[in-house]
Amino acid sequence: MVFVLTAICAGSALVLAYANKATKPAREYQLLKYVQGPSVKKVLKGYDNDPIRDVIEISIGKDEKGHSIKIFPAKKDGKIIGIAYSSSAQGYHGQIEVMVGIDMNGTITGISIMRHSETPGLGARVVEPAFTNQFAGLKLSGQLNLSTRGGKIDGVSGATFSSQGVVSAVRKALELFPKVKKEVS
């Protein structure tokens, strides 16, 4: 009785381990395509490659979960013209995960909020284009701050913490940029 049940469980474990390994690349690709992919495409401009397929993994600066950072390069005629990677910072409720697109001069080409758990109707409004579009064209400088702190970005009213969270995440990404640039070029 015990033997048969053990044998069945062992057999099942073997099969599942194999299935897990066999589908892993495909599953990761789907996750990229449907979760990170649309964000990457939104924040990069003027490329003619598939940034998702050309993803580069580098090990400098690990993200919150200790994974190495995935860099999505935007290429034109084979030359990298910009890169996108995700960054996160504390919002009002938990982490806000932002995909940041940066051209090779360190100027933001766009940002897109991928994951957050801010208050619906208040903090959650940071995902709206009215807020996120303000980032494009800025560099890591005093301008990249909320207007209440002398910057050029108008926070979402009633959601200072959430707005600040997004700004912090974007700043974090830009602070990492010189290192990342050295790594990819």
Binding site: M1, V4, L5, I8, S12, A19, T23, R27, Q30
Partner: protein
């Protein structure tokens, strides 16, 4: 051969799972907001049903009676995980829609029911036929229910517009009450047809 065909066809009308046996109602009611979801859920269940029937009928003499349910569940759960991994890998949008109902195939009583009532007592070929018939019957039922709800609730079937321009969709059909109303009407229709057949 005749017996195999009979085992296959019984799942398509005489014992069609959600409408005749009234089994597996949880996914039947929950995911059938569109015809496509019904097909996806149905085919995932069919795969698990056929594979688990196959394995269980092969092992039927080796599994001791006292631990048979535990053994069946291990086999079924393994195939459900395989389906889940495959859907994540190749049908991600559908996987997102079906969500929690994919892992819940484990506790779908049709599958354990067929394992206990059929596969554990019959040889391999009839067991596969039984699983395939029941699975396809389940798929058909879910697709029908999904198509009706999608048609009335959204004016489309499989995403294609079929209703006239000024048609105002009934939002309730896509919500849980719509599922119950629709299921009830189909059940009564099928009972009416059966009673007609009997009186002839």
């Amino acid at each position: 051969m005749g017996a195999v065909v009979r085992e296959f066809t019984k799942g398509l009308w005489k014992e069609v799972p959600p409408f005749r046996l009234v089994l597996g109602l949880c996914p039947t009611l929950a995911v059938t907001t569109a015809a496509k979801n019904g097909v996806g859920m149905g085919l995932a269940t069919t795969f698990v049903l056929v594979c688990s029937n196959l394995i269980i009928s092969i092992l039927r003499n080796a599994i001791p009676k006292k631990v048979r349910i535990a053994a069946f569940i291990v086999v079924i759960a393994s195939f459900v995980v395989i389906v889940e991994l495959m859907m994540q890998a190749y049908f991600y949008p559908l996987y997102k829609i079906l969500g929690i109902f994919i892992p819940l195939i484990v506790v779908n009583c049709i599958i354990l029911g067929r394992a206990e009532a059929f596969a554990s007592k019959n040889s391999v070929l009839p067991s596969i036929a039984d699983g395939l018939g029941m699975g396809l019957g389940f798929t058909m039922s879910l697709t029908l229910l999904g198509a009706i709800r999608e048609l009335l609730g959204n004016g489309t079937v499989f995403g294609i517009h079929v209703m006239w321009e000024s048609f105002r969709p009934f939002g309730i059909m896509l919500k849980p009450p719509g599922a119950f109303i629709c299921l009830g009407l189909i059940l009564s229709l099928m009972n009416w047809i059966s009673s007609k057949q009997r009186s002839h």
